[in-house]
Symmetry: C2
Subunit: 145 residues, 2 copies
Amino acid sequence: MKLSTRTRYGLRAILELATNQAKGPLQLKIIARNQDISLKYLEQLMATLKSAGLVRSLRGSKGGYILAKAANQIKLSDVFSALEGPSAITVECLDDNGYCVRTADCVTRQVWAQVQQAVMGVLESLTLQDLVDRAKEKGNLDYQI
Amino acid sequence: MKLSTRTRYGLRAILELATNQAKGPLQLKIIARNQDISLKYLEQLMATLKSAGLVRSLRGSKGGYILAKAANQIKLSDVFSALEGPSAITVECLDDNGYCVRTADCVTRQVWAQVQQAVMGVLESLTLQDLVDRAKEKGNLDYQI
DNA sequence: TAATATACTACTAATAAGGTAGGAATATAG
DNA sequence: CTATATTCCTACCTTATTAGTAGTATATTA
């Protein structure tokens, strides 16, 4: 169960937006440099976050990205789902009841459902604002190097 | 975060051993048929479980596999770790402190650590015996079709 | 019009997942 | 002692996914 770079990079990127919200649109160029992510790759990740309605973009000179909602309205589960897919843990039989004849009684399926719930529980309990606050506590105001 | 077939098949296979513990060694041929898993692939999964000390094997005619310990002594986290790797969620910076300069203050890393804990919490709280019991409750005595 | 951003789409390289295949070693039955 | 059944070992292979790269189009500002 490897966490993809998509999700890891994407979370770091949107967290930068949350951190620098006051400063107006933030350019991907900046994020890419701060976070050591390829600009071109980052563009794709942000496109995903945009179509999930989590960020908005402004084109052209002085453009960039901003959060589409307040940081305390964006749950980590939203970010995660957008980037990683709808269910935290991909097990075919969880998403498709017809996938397997044993579905109804299958105890292993139940286990994966429990695990899934546990993961989503954590991610639903945290917002971007929580992370910004945590970072501030650490004196890590900009979250940048 | 896709759960590999290794882990899914592996858990189903060792659960069959737990369910049929009383009947002596169970042959992979049987498990493969019941669980619809390729015999050759299953051989590999069982080899992994064997080297993790979770099952024992008996060669030759009338041979097969048995659990290496009582079903209530085998936690799902043991099975999972053996098959999926040591940490529930693979994020390089969790396993390698030197991986990233931001490690100490990184709030996203903290999130992944929390998620990891949540997953392991579930898997550590369950044993094979628990699953056997659950299956019995459902009247699904053999866990087979 | 020049410069600066995002938007869109296609391609590519590397890695991992999910097996297959063949034969060697070992145990049991007769 | 031989036939059969089973695990053991190792190598290979195919497909899908990940993680990017690249190029060009479009929009905005100054």
